[in-house]
Structure formats: C-alpha cells, structure tokens
C-alpha cells in the first residue's frame, strides 16, 4: 500500500478509527464525532481503559462538546471567545443559543427580539434544561471551518485551527466562529466532523501524519 492509493480511507474501519500520531507520541481517535456515550466516546474510553494515551480523552471530549466548558477552556487558554451566560431560558437577542441537555444538540441563532419565549421553551425542553447564550453584536456573522489535526483547508483559519488542536485536542472538528468586521474571529463552538466525510486533501494531510493501528 502506497500513500495516496486510497487504502488509507478504506482501512479506517478495520482499525476502529484509531491511529498512531508519532509527532504527538499518542493515539488519535479519528471517528470525528465525540458525543457522550456514542461510538467516538467509547473509542477513546476503550483506549483509556487499556492504559493508552489517546486524544480526545473523555475529559477533552466533554470540555469541547459542552458549550460553556468549551468557552471557559478557551478563555483560560487565552483564545478569543464571546461573552456568554447560562440561563434557565431567559436571553436577549442577538444571541447564539446552545442547549445544555442530554437530548438536544441543535443550536439556534436569534438575531431579533419577538419570539424569545417560544424559542426558550423549545431550547430548554419546556424550561427543564439550561441553555448557554453567546452575545453577538449587530454586525457579527456566524461561520464555520473544518479542522483536521490542527490544520484547515482554508488558509485564513489555519492558525486558529492549530490553536484549537493545541487547546482542545479534538482531531477532527467543525468549528463555529463569530466574525466581526475588522476583528479576529471569536471561537464559538465545536462539533463533529466525521472521518467518513473528509475531503481528499484532508485525507492526504492526515495520511502524512498518522498511521492506522494502536
């Protein structure tokens, strides 16, 4: 098998999406989705239980996927993140809302006032769970980039992608950012980027840096 012959992608499954990352001296979990109790989460747990260092660890997966922890960890690391608050349902637009509950992952962008009660009722599951609200400015724009082991196809997000990898240790991620004209982007959220959905250049980048197997 030679690099670029296509076998890198097809061999992922037989290795359970676990690869050696020689530069980091660790394993990386390349499932791409690390939601609590799902395949990616247990892939890391299996390796941790066997005493192997793998990223993300269970702690890293939750720090990244629980919105207020993602933001707090970023702030601690000196990354630019928006102002945020945790609420039972109250919020003031313009805002990005992320649920903090086991049954919902979909976030919501609310730019104008008028439907706050209906939105908070839906996002909190009838005011049962909490929400995390990120404050936006009027001219803010929400956008996304793909991060593959600290690298991005998009040159303008490469530096940020490297920072995301260094701080959060999430090998594959779709990162949400808030862009304000004339300012550096604010990190807003991180979500799944399944290995199976990687583009050819992303796969080529990975293939140069990791080898399948424990």
């Amino acid at each position: 098998m030679k690099p670029g012959d296509g076998s890198f992608k097809t061999r992922a499954d037989e290795h359970g999406f676990v690869a050696r990352y020689p530069d980091g001296g660790c394993l990386v979990n390349l499932v791409g989705g690390y939601d609590y109790l799902e395949l990616g989460y247990y892939t890391s747990q299996d390796q941790e239980a066997a005493g192997r260092l793998i990223h993300p660890t269970l702690e890293e997966a939750l720090d990244a996927y629980v919105p207020p922890l993602f933001l707090e960890k970023g702030r601690w690391a000196g990354l630019r993140v928006p102002e945020f608050y945790i609420s039972n349902g109250y919020f003031e637009p313009p805002v990005v809302i992320d649920p903090i509950n086991p049954f919902m992952i979909k976030s919501r962008l609310v730019l104008k006032p008028g439907r706050e009660r209906a939105i908070s009722k839906s996002m909190t599951r009838n005011f049962t769970y909490a929400i995390c609200c990120q404050e936006l400015t009027e001219n803010a724009k929400v956008t996304y980039f793909r991060s593959v082991l600290g690298w991005s196809l998009s040159p303008r997000f490469r530096a940020l992608s490297e920072m995301v990898w260094n701080v959060y240790r999430i090998p594959l991620a779709r990162v949400r950012v808030i862009e304000i004209p004339g300012e550096d982007p604010l990190l807003s959220d991180i979500g799944p980027l399944p290995f199976t959905g990687l583009k050819a250049r992303e796969l080529a980048y990975l293939e140069e840096r990791v080898q399948w197997g424990e």
Binding site: Q45, V66, S87, P102
Partner: protein, 296 residues
C-alpha cells in the same frame, strides 16, 4: 471562614427531605464558622468566588451540574462531586470497567456494542449469565433504564430500547435479594449505612407505576459501629476504584458475603433517611469540602 456554594436545581428544593438535609448542612456549616449559598444554573459564573462547591442536583455530563463541577475544578476549587467521578459513575460501562480493573466483587458483567446485539449474542448471554439477565443502559439512574430479560427476544427488545441514547449497554448476572445496602463513602471512609427494602412483588428498590408514581420501600439507617465489617470493606474497596470523593455504594447480600451492584456519585442525602444513624454526616461533609478551615 470558608464559603461553600451549594449547586441546586429546582427539583432539589421542591423535595422537602432533600431541602431539609441541605438546611441541616447549612446550619452545621454556620456553626463551624462557614458561609453557604445556594447556586442555581445562572450563578455558575460565580463559582470562582467560592472555596468549595457541593453539587446537590442530578448529575450527568450533559447537564448543568457537570458544567458547575468542571468549572470548579478548572478554578482549583474543591468540589463534590468531582467531574471525574461524574464521568465514571454516570456511565455504567465506565463504572464497571473501573470496578473490574480493581478486582471488586460484582456480578458477572458483559458489555455489548450496538452492532453485536443479535439473537445469537442474546442466547449466549442467557447461557453464560443465566436467566434472567439484567440489562442496564449506561446512563441509568434511580433504577430507570434497568430491566431484566428471561428470553433472547427480551434481551434484543430491551437492548434496542437502551441503545437509543448510547452505543453500549451492560448485561449482568441477576442477584436475588430482599433488601439492598447503601453505604455512603466520603474520602475513602464510610459515612453512613442504610438498608433499602425492596417493595413486595418488585425486584428493584425503586420502581415506577405506568402512571409514573414512584414505588419504594422503607429506608433503615444502621449505625456505622453496628454495620458488618465485610459490608464496609467491600463498599470502601468499590469507592476506591472510582476516586476519593462522595459515593453511595449499592450492595446485595449473598449469604454472608456482599456483592457490589454499583457505585453512585451524588448519592441522595435525605433528612431522616441517610442521616438518621450517622450523627456526624454533615460535619464530615463540611470538613471534607473545607480542609484546614475548620474551627471545631
């Protein structure tokens, strides 16, 4: 003087027994020279102002309580329950892995991934673990998402239901008993002992009617000095396999021996139940949260 933030949710303060226990805790803390405040979800940002945080809300890594616990940890603040214990105990697969690795006496246990749940897998489980087999979703709590199956059809049906929120489930050998023991452990030492009676015609200490009503038996406190030494030893070993915080270890008695059924983080502490024969329960919690800050 130390400041303890007690993280609560609405359901915590609407349960009078739980609220009374927290009032006793706050009163004891005050007498020991400390200050307590209740913290609700929107107060999580205030956590850095406290010396310790006591989580008294349903824990789950995807709930606000985990955010509160992890936030406290990030700021170097002592917290019950610590995030690692929440991560382990709220996921039964992770919890049993830790118990098995430490050689704790538990019923024979298997983990099943979703693609493995076939008829032949179910038949093998029934042969290896006997009938009935107990199935648990990893996120089970308060006896919910715990069921038993006598047939391979039952194993597959229940398993499919439990896979809705998780990629793995737990299968265990059934251990019959008339009552369960709960041993509270704090910092590696027994804190209280209770005996939970299983209601008639039930097999779990807590079950629910189709209308959602909770069915449970009486709770009997046992002074630590009168509890079986083997019971305390088994519970202490099980808690040590998880961490050094506050745990409620559930055990079943099998003859003269005890089998650990599970280790819970955030064990319930209800006035008149867990504290009925544990005179120093609240003092010890305060001392644990604020080591080196106690007048008495």
């Amino acid at each position: 003087m130390g400041r303890i933030g007690i993280f609560v949710e609405r359901h915590t303060i609407t349960n009078s027994d739980e609220m009374n226990a927290l009032m006793r805790f706050a009163q004891v803390a005050r007498k020991m020279g400390h200050w307590t405040d209740f913290l609700f979800r929107p107060d999580i940002y205030k956590i850095p102002q406290y010396d310790a945080v006591f989580i008294r809300a349903l824990t789950d890594p995807l709930n606000a309580s985990y955010t509160a616990a992890r936030m406290a940890e990030m700021y170097g603040i002592r917290v019950i329950d610590d995030p690692r214990s929440i991560r382990i105990c709220c996921d039964k697969v992770n919890m049993y892995r830790h118990l098995m690795a430490a050689g704790v006496a538990i019923p024979e246990t298997r983990f099943i991934a979703e693609p493995e749940l076939t008829r032949s897998c179910a038949e093998r489980l029934l042969i290896e673990l006997g009938r009935p087999v107990v199935l648990k979703a990893p996120h089970s709590s308060f006896s919910m998402y715990v069921d038993k199956a006598e047939t391979h059809e039952g194993v597959v049906r229940i398993g499919k239901r439990f896979f809705r929120r998780a990629d793995r489930i737990v299968a265990q050998k059934y251990v019959k008993s008339e009552s369960d023991w709960r041993v509270g452990i704090l910092g590696g030492e027994p804190l209280y002992v209770c005996q939970y009676t299983i209601p008639r015609r039930q097999w779990k200490i807590l079950t629910y009617t189709p209308e959602g009503r909770t069915v449970c038996g009486p709770v009997k406190g046992v002074p630590l000095a009168r509890a079986s030494r083997l019971l305390l030893q088994r519970a202490t070993e099980a808690a040590a396999a998880i961490g050094h915080g506050l745990y409620g270890v559930d055990l079943k008695q099998a003859g003269d021996d005890f089998v650990v059924i599970e280790v819970n983080d955030n064990p319930s502490i209800l006035a008149g139940d867990e504290d009925q024969k544990a005179g120093e329960l609240y003092e010890r919690l305060v001392r644990y949260l604020l080591p080196g800050e106690n007048r008495s």
